[in-house]
Amino acid sequence: MDLTSAPDAADTAAQPASEDDAGTPPAIFDVENLNVYYGDFHAVQDVTLPIGKNQITAFIGPSGCGKSTVLRCFNRMNDLIEIARVEGKIDYHGVDLYGLSIDPVEVRRHIGMVFQKPNPFPKSIYDNVAFGPKIAGYKGNMDELVEESLHKAALWDEVKDKLKESALALSGGQQQRLCIARAIATSPDVVLMDEPCSALDPIATLRIEELMQELKADYSILIVTHNMQQAARVSDRTGFFNVELNERGQRTGHLVEFDETGKIFTNPNVKATEDYITGRFG
């Protein structure tokens, strides 16, 4: 199955993966011709790719290539920006996320997000995790849900005796794991991560990468990272985005290549990809 897409090879790209394909996992998202505009500015152009279920998919690329913009389309966070306009289709379990009847608030319960700088609520550790389920109307045992979420985020042992203390007293790495626990507390099946380790030291980073490998079993993970070595270590599939000047002289991002990570980092198809990962251009 040819997953690579040079800009003019759209016909060979984006064949939705099905279980019938030899060993390829089913797709949880199917993106087709995604375009994002900020007012007049064409930020992202014609992105088409599948996102595999229970896989870690990484987006890499230079600054301003639109990878974060694309990520934020998956949970409709771009809705919060007034001048943002999203065109194209993102199918989630076969449902168009941008359909007219779709409630973005519900979308965000199913598709969680972890941000670049850890941003726990200035509340207790317990309340941080409990907030999402609470406003979603969770009627079950909240204590158990909080404990389970913290376990899954590999944070329980470190905080089980201080659940009522402020989340801001934790270290950076712990705060980010708390944000992960918070994101998975609403029982999503997808976790989006926008450069989750860029504010952390190397040891904390490795712990989060380890955690991602564990979470893969239950969640589909989509990570944007400017650290391509991280993408190489951690992801199953990698998408390389790059910036190009369009006809109007705007720097528009587009998807250059999307493939198994092993292939991208040992023998990419597109020269621009090879130049980027070997550090030949920034």
Partner: protein
Amino acid sequence: MATRNITVDTSALVRRSLEGKRINWFDQFVAIALLVSLLSGLLILATLLISVFSSGFSVLADRGFDFITSRLSPDAADAGIFQAIIGSLILTGFVIVVAFPLGVGAAVYLEEYAPDTKITRFIDANIRNLAGVPSIVYGLLGLAVFVKLMGGFTGGRTLVTGGLTLAVLVLPIMIITTAEALRAVPQALREASMGVGATKWETIRHHVLPVALPSIFTGAVLTIARAFGESAPLLLAGAVLSLFFSNASGAGVGEYLFDEPYTAMPIVIYNWARQPQQDFVALTSAAIIVFLVFLLTVNGVAIFLRDRYERK
């Protein structure tokens, strides 16, 4: 041998360049000048307090509590500021009840809900302008609208009128300080909340407002202080200078708010300062002392509440 000499010389050179050469006179001068400005401000304040205290203390010492509980009277020996205190407290209460919710609500709408259009920016700019309008203009507004236009409802020159006038006066300040407090809340917090599936209002209610509350309270403190000390608008909107027969403790609340003439502390101070009799000088100072005590108390309560929320 030669090498060692060179090493020693280098070391001496480095030492000379690292050791402080001259005292930086300019730095010292600036520090002193700033200290002088601080002291000047304190000096002016101290002068005010000392003159007021020395003048008015005798009255309080002689008459004590009686001064506070007596009514207004043309006779300096009998005059007290009871009605003024009640008036000021009720007016402040009005300001809190009316301006606080309206101000916070307007600011929340402007900052969190309103789209960034020309109209919104126009409104925002004009609110700032309103905050700078002299208070006497609000007095005229109060006179025209609350006294005359809505006279049937407010009863003319009553506490309701005065309260509404003051509330309108401080509303722009309240909106501006609340808007600033909301703007200071990091966007990351809103994103985090929306990211777990909260609606806009849930985000505001559970996260944005609690974080902004200490600063909002600071704004409230400012508005209360402003309202407490305003005299010009009240003069126009109907506070009475000399009040001889209002039963501040006998009338029912409704009547008192809507029917009776009223006064306030700044008004009384203004009036007594105008009196030719010598005794009223000390009385004025005494009233100022009481006024300052009340002001500090009201401020203190607001600050206490703010600190409590900040610690949470």
